[in-house]
């Protein structure tokens, strides 16, 4: 993977790490990627929603791991030897938190020009797609650009509220 120069602000292009889930390709802002590692056993957290698999030790920090397929309501899949965890830095309210997302495998880092990004089609249920930043064609495939802050961040913030709420 090549790491390119950093762009500041809303630049004309930015770099995106693409990964595969089933037959779909997704992308996340490379600047948010902390680490990529192989899948390993995860410690379960009581009362967590089903797409939160548990936590892992990431270089001394306790990081929650989310199954992205479950979160995106895709078909479940078996974890194989090439299943990968992408560790992302996510904005949760005022704080930055680390999360790991389980994906089938990573692809390339691509340069995405802002001009090429098209808006996601309005399917009528905005809540379900507000984590999609846009769609961009890359080498004949369509990459779904994810806004991880909305996808994982808001989720987890509500999660800790639920976790205490459920038991209360």
């Amino acid at each position: 993977m090549n790491s390119g120069k950093q762009e500041t602000g809303a630049a004309e292009s930015h770099q995106v790490l693409t990964f595969v889930l089933g037959s779909e390709t997704y992308g996340v802002d490379i600047l948010r990627v902390q680490e990529i590692r192989g899948f390993s056993t995860v410690t379960k957290i009581p009362q967590a929603p089903s797409h939160v698999l548990g936590v892992l030790n990431l270089r001394g920090s306790i990081v929650p791991i989310v199954d992205l397929r479950m979160r995106l309501a895709l078909e479940r899949a078996e974890y194989t030897a090439v299943t990968v965890i992408i560790v992302l830095s996510v904005q949760c309210g005022a704080a930055r938190r680390d999360f790991g997302v389980v994906v089938d495998g990573v692809s390339d880092v691509v340069d995405v020009k802002a001009a090429d990004v098209r808006a996601a089609p309005d399917l009528g249920c905005t809540a379900a797609t507000d984590y999609i930043r846009g769609l961009v064609p890359v080498s004949e495939r369509m990459v779904v650009l994810l806004d991880i802050d909305r996808l994982v961040g808001g989720d987890i913030a509500a999660l800790s509220a639920t976790a205490s709420g459920e038991a209360a």
Partner: protein, 681 residues
């Protein structure tokens, strides 16, 4: 080329705050009757150095104020001025003012100019009046002044008529003459003074209530007002036999103290008693910096602690790998690893101690607070401080202050009775509030006790019933009743004073202490007093844990919470409606908590007698934790679950085991809460 001095600002602020603390401590130690020259010197040096520093950095308001302060202190130092309780109060107020000013400048906020100017004027007045027979009366006279020499006290009410000035009379002259007869305490009545615009400056709208203590006859007093006869209302009363001042701490014959009113005398007792009591091995560390120490930033220490934490984990991992190794070098490796483990423990303990500071840093704010509070409430309080050298982790230290403040305020406000009540009950006039700290069995014990009236068991129970916190029919042990005071919204104070008793206190206190991993208990005896006992762990970051297995998951139970582990026979378990499964343990029936149920895990076995029950204590209640197996005991480094995830009931944190996996650390208090939901459902 001007030098950029801003880089030195931080050091100046830090040193100034420290210097102010030593000034405050010295002031509180100061015996007004026999002031130690060394203490006065200390106070002078503080003012001098802050004046110099603030002038250098261009903080002119601070420099100006401190200059006046320094001038006054120089008069004291040179024995050209006498110390008095009023002066000591003024100096303490100056400490407060300087703190505020420094903070304001540090935060680049405006200084409270009015307050500073007023206080500076008071200082200048004191200096100008240094030769006067009495200190400026800053508090209204309300009770008879106690003359040290037992001289009679006259109460004079003097109200000139409007046209008083026209006859060439000047009240000032009369007051001056009275002052020559004895010790004067003057209270002005400006109620009739009209607004500035309406005021005819040739008319007199002021009146005075004067107390004169002196060996004078009424005739001499009347003589002073000879020329004013008919132009004023005058009443002269003898105010009964003078009482000897209860404060023998100020056995001076200077008229200053004689003019001091009784509420003032009490603080003199506090000021004298408190430092005397607290002097045992006390805060000599507060005065200035000792040689042989370095300032280190907290970030560096935290980094150090983190690295040591990582080392602990790595060492555990290596040890684990080493256990199963075979081969020629295996034994050598294992003995090397054992040595490593010993070194690690030592390193850990040393680094932990770096973060530890004596509790005197927290205790030191109490003499001042107690003195002010006692004054405000009109009670006599003696503060005892013991165990100030007991060391705690810096973070614990920072967070233990507020709970202690609340407990002490409570003791003074609600615990200690008013002086008359105490004397009537045969107690000493001054109530004792005792702060103590010591190491006790791997923990820190901090105690706040008083010899006041103790908690009122019946009133607490009644209030709790009233608020629906307790069933009307429930029978509770005394212990359980006293525990009720920690419930939110609970306060039995008849009148909530603005000091405490608003009912938000005790539950917050308990919560804060819990967050530190500690607990608080209360022991009380009606009529005799109360003791609040706080137990805290020595450090927040590392805990001794017992690993337990439930299904494929490993959990850590804090070792200090474990009472016993046992295997139950089927006949030992009973079912109790509303309580689930219970078993007998040391004369009580304890509930069984099935961890696998709460956490939703598939256990190895569901039969109680095939697994193990670990009897634990969480937040005062005991229960049996049902697990599959006991694994090892080890020290674990506590990692936060909340940093990246959030709070989970029943889990206090996580740790990384030797094999690199994450194990959750159980929060037993939290589990009791979760359990009660489970049972109810």
């Amino acid at each position: 080329m001007s030098l950029d001095l801003t880089q030195f600002h931080d050091a100046f602020f830090e040193e100034s705050f420290e210097a102010l603390e030593s000034m405050e401590a010295a002031l509180l130690k100061l015996d007004v009757g026999a002031p130690e020259p060394e203490l006065i010197n200390t106070i002078f040096r503080v003012a001098h150095s802050i004046k110099g520093g603030s002038a250098t950095f261009g903080f002119s308001e601070i420099a100006s104020f401190t200059h006046s302060l320094e001038t006054l202190l120089d008069e004291l130092r040179g024995n050209r001025m006498a110390v008095s309780v009023a002066l000591s109060d003024l100096l303490l107020k100056s400490v407060d003012a300087m703190r505020s000013m420094l903070r304001a400048v540090q935060a680049k906020q405006p200084i409270d100019a009015q307050r500073t100017a007023d206080l500076q004027f008071d200082l200048e007045l004191a200096i100008a009046n240094k030769n006067a027979p009495q200190a400026p009366a800053s508090t209204p006279v309300s009770t008879p002044a106690a003359a040290a020499d037992g001289a009679p006290v006259w109460k004079i009410a003097f109200r000139p008529h409007r046209k008083f000035f026209a006859s060439g009379n000047d009240p000032l002259r009369m007051l001056r003459e009275l002052a020559a007869l004895g010790s004067l305490s003057v209270e002005i009545d400006a109620a009739a003074l009209p607004s500035f615009a309406e005021l005819d400056p040739h008319e007199c709208h002021l009146a005075w209530r004067i107390e004169l203590a002196g060996d004078v006859g009424e005739a001499s007093i009347r003589e002073v007002f000879d020329w004013a006869e008919g132009d004023c209302d005058l009443s002269i009363e003898h105010s009964g036999a003078p009482q000897a001042a209860p404060a023998t701490a100020a056995p001076v014959t200077t008229p200053e103290v004689a003019a001091v009113t009784t509420p003032d005398a009490a603080p003199a007792a506090v000021a004298a008693a408190a430092p005397r009591a607290g002097n045992d091995g006390a805060a000599s560390s507060v005065v200035g910096g000792d040689s042989g120490s370095i300032r280190v930033s907290v970030e560096k220490i935290d980094e150090l602690m983190n690295t040591v934490g990582e080392l602990v984990i790595t060492q555990a991992m290596l040890s684990q790998l080493g256990t199963n190794l075979e081969g020629p070098s295996a034994d050598q490796l294992r003995s090397g690893l054992a040595q490593l483990e010993r070194n690690m423990r030592e390193l850990q303990e040393t680094v932990m101690r770096v973060r530890m500071l004596p509790i005197s840093f927290v205790f030191s704010r109490f003499p001042r607070m107690v003195r002010d509070l006692a004054q405000r409430l009109g009670k006599q309080i003696e503060l005892k401080l013991t165990g100030e050298q007991t060391e705690l982790d810096k973070t614990v230290l920072e967070k233990i202050g507020d709970p202690l403040v609340h407990l002490v305020r409570n003791s003074i406000d609600h615990g200690i009775e008013k002086t008359e009540a105490r004397i009537a009950a045969g107690k000493a006039a001054a109530g004792v509030v005792h702060l103590d700290a010591c190491h006790r069995g791997g923990n820190i014990a901090v105690e706040v006790s008083d010899d006041g009236g103790g908690l009122n068991r019946d009133r607490i129970l009644a209030k709790a019933r009233e608020r629906g916190l307790v069933d009307a029919n429930a029978t509770l042990t005394d212990e359980q009743i006293y525990d009720l005071i920690f419930l939110p919204g609970f306060s039995t104070a008849e009148q909530t004073t603005d000091v405490s008793g608003r009912g938000v206190g005790m539950d917050v206190v308990r919560r804060n202490i819990k967050e530190l991993g500690g607990k608080i208990e209360v022991r009380t005896e009606r009529g005799k007093g109360s003791r609040f006992i706080i137990t805290l762990p020595l450090t927040l970051a590392i805990v001794d844990g017992q690993s337990v297995a439930v299904g494929h998951e490993t959990y850590i139970v804090p070792l200090t919470s474990i009472i016993e582990s046992l295997q139950l026979k089927p006949e030992q378990v009973n079912r109790l409606s509303g309580h689930g499964e219970v078993f007998a343990f040391r004369g009580n029936y304890l509930p069984v908590v099935r961890l696998h149920q709460i956490f939703g895990i598939e256990p190895r076995t569901r039969d109680l007698h095939e697994g193990l029950v670990v009897v634990v204590e969480g937040e005062g209640s005991r229960f049996g934790l049902f697990v599959d197996d006991l694994l090892g005991q080890q020290q674990v480094v506590i990692k936060s679950l909340e940093t990246n995830y959030g709070h989970v009931d029943g889990v206090s944190g996580a740790t990384i085991l030797g094999d690199g996996n994450v194990a959750l650390i159980l929060d037993l208090g939290g589990l009791t809460r979760v359990t009660s939901q489970c049972v109810a459902a």
